[in-house]
């Protein structure tokens, strides 16, 4: 199986005042193409930090991250941005959407940044919103959508350009369990249909159960 994410000896420290916090301490992790992985662990264990490093939003203090064949250490800021734009989809816990844009425009906007033509944008945004169950909600603004619906738009946006990986940091944390389960189901569907790799973090037992593979983190280390 082809490896899509390769982390080797990752270290990440933060200064909290004068105290040094090891957010990640010598983390090794391989994730294969098409996997549906949950990062689980208590609060403060380093899930967000790891996802940010895999997503190229932050840089390691030591070790290396290789995603889809690209060694982040060799990329400059612009190249990293380019990589995020075309090959990584993001779903955050909250504030995922541009408030002044409708559901469909939110999905279209990333495609615009990717340089996709107008007609194709319209077509693909409609299709993907249908797939995540938001038919008839194309023109709603985020404020006119429920939390679960907003997260689905975010998933649609993340997946619409067939990225290599989708990173989701606690995508269900702000949702009730039933809505969260629905979102997970959709993510799983997308994972199977689009062959996209999903990595998401959670500390919710129910969500962990949905994962095909569970990676436990504790105090910045992978626990098995």
């Amino acid at each position: 199986m082809e490896t899509i994410v390769q982390c080797r000896g990752i270290q990440k420290k933060y200064m909290q005042g004068k105290v040094e916090v090891r957010a990640l301490d010598n983390v090794d992790l391989d994730i294969a193409k098409g996997e549906f992985v949950a990062l689980a662990g208590p609060s403060g264990s380093g899930k967000t930090t790891l996802l940010n490093l895999i997503g190229g939003l932050d840089t390691v203090d030591a070790g290396k991250v290789i995603v889809d064949g690209e060694n982040y250490a060799e990329l400059n800021g612009a190249a990293l941005a380019e990589l995020r734009l075309h090959r990584i989809g993001f779903v955050f816990q909250a504030y995922n959407l541009i408030p002044v844009l409708s559901a469909r425009e939110n999905v279209e906007y990333v495609m615009l940044l990717q340089g996709v033509g107008t007609a194709e944008r319209r077509e693909r945004s409609r299709m993907i919103l249908d797939e995540v169950g938001l038919e008839n909600k194309y023109d709603r603004r985020p404020s006119e959508l429920s939390g679960g619906q907003q997260q689905r738009v975010a998933v649609a946006r993340a997946i619409v350009s067939n990225p290599s990986i989708v990173l989701a940091d606690e995508p269900t944390a702000n949702l009730d369990s039933k809505t969260g389960e629905g979102l997970l189901k959709i993510m799983r569907e997308m994972n199977e249909k689009k062959k996209a790799t999903f990595i998401f973090s959670t500390h919710d037992k129910m969500v962990m159960d949905c994962a095909r593979r569970l990676v436990m983190i504790q105090d910045g280390r992978i626990a098995r």
Binding site: A81, H86, I88, F92, Y109, V110, L113
Partner: protein
Amino acid sequence: MDITIAWRNIWRNPRRTAVILIAVVIGIWSMVFMGALMRGVEVGMIDNGISTLTGDLQVHSRNYRNDPIVENSIREPELVHAALSKVLPPGAHSAFRVRLNAVAGNARHSAGVTLVGIDASAEKAVSFIGDAVTDGEYLSESDANGILVGQELLETFDTRLGRKIILMAQDADGEIASKAFRIKGIFQAEMKATEKQFVFVSGSAARKMLKMGNQVSEVCVALPGHRNSEAVVADLRRELGTGGEFEVNTWRELLPVLNAYLEMSNSFIFIWYVVMFVAMGFGLTNTTLMAVFERMREFGLLKALGMRPARIIRQVLIESSIILMIGMVIGNLLGILSVLLLSNTGIDLSDLAAGVEYAGMSRMIYPVLLESDILVSNLVVFVLGALVSLYPASKAARFTPIQAMAQT
């Protein structure tokens, strides 16, 4: 889509947008309006200067301007006459004058004045005096002993219409000539100094008194629309020969102080633009900065999704530009409207007349809109406005997704 997003973002916080808009509107309005007022002052000063006796250009004998005495008169006015008839554009007028220093006196008072001997009908077309007589009558063609004096002189001399005034001046033989004139008319001028300085008699009476034959002191020309005086002066100089007998000057050369003021006035207007802009610019930067910080999450998100910093800067600049442009349209309309409203009635400064007069301004200001002023003020606002928005925009571009996310 960028413009759609910008447009929606602008109306996300209508109150803040309104604040920026008002600042821009007031800025542009005041630039246009105050600019027009200053131009109006300029035009008033030019009109004043030109119509007071200067005209658009003058011809003198070579030495007259240094030493305005009878000996330095134009000895052959026919030559000037011939040159003028060749060179002057249609609609131009000329008047030949005697203009010499004299002493005016009556039983109780005396004062130095400028004696102006005029061709009554020709003078009407080139200077203010034709319309300035408010009491009594204007001079007739070859008035032998009528004199026009200003209201102010009349008051200092404590005299009135019909009374006598004696004029004394050096004549062509170098003797002191004196002659009694009867006050035939009283004139009023924009400036009290004018009313005090000049007395008018007919050219023939002046020449006879001063034994000047047919000589004149100066020839004054008024051009239609006050235009092209430089070109006409050049033509006249050529026509009158390089012999050095004549001197031809534009009003700019004849009124060096006014000319210097006009040259400075452009800088005043520009400084005014900059001052207005600085006031406006601070508000603009501040408000835009606030708006940008409020949307930190959004910019962080966009950056996480792979949006380039340059594109974020562009987005913020598009938003500022749209607000600027709306403000500019409204500001210009208001500015032009208020100028139009005032351009007929004018602004009456007579209450401030003493100070105003000191500065050589007219009592009434009629604002004057120049396209170039409107253009420059808009350019200043737009270019500087975009520039000061660059700072908040670059802030927005520097938010990292991590920072943005940390902000709960």
